[in-house]
Symmetry: C2
Subunit: 396 residues, 2 copies
């Protein structure tokens, strides 16, 4: 056998460990209730019609050419306008349209990290924040976020974990998997730490307009003194995750990100471009009516509240009600092995969730993540089964 690289073997994919046994059950004809997928389209959501129409029109007009590596100019203009609305001052030259936020993360980590250099990421976190720094020979370090404090980051822990090797601090806000939304005070504190250490921030804002009660405040507005790379895209707010259109925006201060910008741009040119016709769909999304967002949030609110009620009624479970996004990170009292818990729940009750340690072995353990995307009837059946499971629960 021809051996594979060490680099590729470093990629772990914890979430997969629970998907494989679920597929095996399904092959046997067993219906599995899925609370694991962060994809609204798999439930009862659709991409808004005016966005679909714009993309379909682009396809019909044979907008099949390579676009500029940094993305179509008209889309970058719309992104500049969007960010201006948040009080963020960037130009079209600061933007790279990417194949989803995932590609943006690859470009950033590959541009920023030499071997052994570190990046601070929230714990628990969205898994690519662990995968890609590791893939590029860097070291992701998780900082503590505090469940009792609405899953807010702990600035003292960030200070403790900063070293001379640290290149950046990442903030995912609203957060996946906890649904936390951070107070401005916390963002300011993290920004101060970045400023003191002359490092930059990564601000992942993919759920920016998916807040239940708050109005999103951009970290780049709060911290005008800290170089920052902002991430966003069409996936969640505009309900089109499979279109693979996102962006990164470099909000620099005093040219501190010039070198990293060059490292990002070199990669962006080598990989050619994000797909062209669906960029025009995102353009329509940014410039068109936004009223689908309220409708989406109304549905999600009802579902969140339903889950919160059920969780409160089940002995041994608790949850911090999320302020944004569509995830709920549920605590299991006295849980010794959350992966085993999730696998047993799947095997016995055919409900698929994701184990908390898949999002962080330290700060995620003893939890499981669900999505509050499915309709209430679906959630009801799932939580009936979870309730039964908790009653029968043995020593997990």
């Amino acid at each position: 056998m021809i051996p594979a690289s060490i680099r590729s073997k470093r990629i772990e994919y914890a979430i997969r460990d629970v998907v494989v046994p679920a597929k095996e059950l399904e092959k046997k004809g067993i219906e599995v209730l899925k609370l694991n997928i962060g994809d609204p389209i798999k439930y009862d959501f659709k991409t808004p019609e005016h966005i679909r129409k714009a993309a379909a029109e682009a396809v019909m007009n044979s907008r099949s050419e390579y676009s500029p590596s940094e993305g179509l100019l008209e889309l970058r203009e719309a992104i500049v306008d969007k960010e201006k609305g948040y009080g963020v001052d960037i130009t079209t030259d600061d933007i790279v349209v990417t194949t989803g936020v995932t590609e943006a993360l690859m470009l950033i980590f590959a541009a920023a990290l030499d071997p052994g250099q570190e990046i601070l990421v929230p714990g628990p976190t969205y898994p690519p924040y662990i995968t890609y720094p590791t893939f590029y020979d860097g070291i992701p370090k998780t900082y503590r976020t505090v469940e009792e404090d609405g899953w807010h980051p702990d600035p003292d822990d960030i200070r403790k974990k900063i070293s001379r090797k640290t290149k950046a601090i990442a903030v995912i806000n609203p957060n996946n998997p906890t649904g936390a939304y951070y107070d401005e005070r916390i963002i300011r504190e993290i920004a101060d730490i970045a400023a003191e250490n002359d490092i930059f921030m990564i601000s992942d804002e993919i759920y920016d307009k998916m807040l239940y009660d708050n109005e999103f405040v951009s970290p780049a507005k709060i911290a005008k003194d800290v170089p920052m790379i902002i991430l966003n895209g069409i996936s969640k707010v505009y309900l089109a995750p499979g279109w693979r259109i996102g962006y990164l925006a470099i909000r620099d201060v005093d040219g501190k990100l010039e070198d990293i910008r060059d490292g990002i741009m070199r990669q962006a040119r080598a990989r050619l471009c994000a797909n062209t016709p669906l960029q025009l769909g995102y353009l329509a999304a940014l410039k068109g009516p936004q009223d689908h967002i309220k409708k989406t949030m109304d549905k999600l609110r009802e579902r969140r509240d339903y889950v919160a009620k059920r969780v409160a009624e089940i002995d041994g479970l608790s949850v911090v009600p999320p302020k944004g996004a569509f995830y709920m990170f549920i605590k299991v009292d006295g849980c010794r092995d959350d992966k085993k818990f999730v696998l047993e729940l799947l095997r016995e009750k055919h409900v698929l969730t994701v184990h908390g340690s898949g999002f962080c072995p330290i700060y995620g353990k003893g939890h499981f993540r669900i999505v509050n995307l499915p309709p209430v009837e679906y959630l009801e059946e799932a939580f009936n089964r979870i309730e039964e499971f908790m009653k029968e629960r043995k020593n997990i």
Copy 2:
């Protein structure tokens, strides 16, 4: 300034060096005749209507969900059928649908190369075959292809350059930038070298159906004994480069590629998926009528023949007429600096081409590459200017 990684600085993009001064001319209002872009859509080609319709329908049906990381099953089935037509025996489990062949190359090189390991690539070559092995700490070595022999690879040179560190030999056939199409005998000889050294082959077939006279014969059919990864996609044959849909197919022998397959699949899952709706366009492309291909090739043949005639009439230029793809790699007699040649041609006559050394500093030098994609009138004007330039040419 926060320093960028060494890795990102390694990315060179020679072709860009000529695009920047061209853009500067355009900013001054000067019209530049562009013979540099391998994108049919930028000239007078369109994605065939039935393919556009299928993709637009997928968009309108809100096929906006994440697809499986390895690609939609129905598309992989169609790819299996396509490869079966070439006598290649693979299953849907052997395929990963990718964001263009570029992403496929990234997945393969990252999965195959540990630091210092080598990959043999044709010289001259399509630049990502240099960029990505280098990006992942590997070493691309170019093997000689021989202009006097229709740009066929020189097997002796391949033998000479194989070392214990070599992991694979790449073949791009039909070739970019030379337009060569390889005799079966040569493929067999390269496959023998791979087999003797227990390494695998990479077969880039993105121009497979763009042959002027020959019928494509798959290297995987010729060399059933050699593990091979096949690359293809919608970009060229189906005239949709900006859709970013390609694939890699692992044609294994005795499980030799199992480990590398695992390394590829880990990466594929981490990056989620290629865009979903345009995958359904590629499905329609593979299963629908193929008659646009003959029409495309008829146009390209006329344009190729026109360029060949003009080149033959110009003192100091010569070209091996391409057998496939849409590039012509033109030799400049006694040229000492092909980059300077191309830049002067741009500055004095406003015709943009790409310098041969951008495709390989050894085997590409003294040449420039054009595309025979534009209509004859456009080519006529461009070659009038090239002819003038050659007459006035000084000591370049």
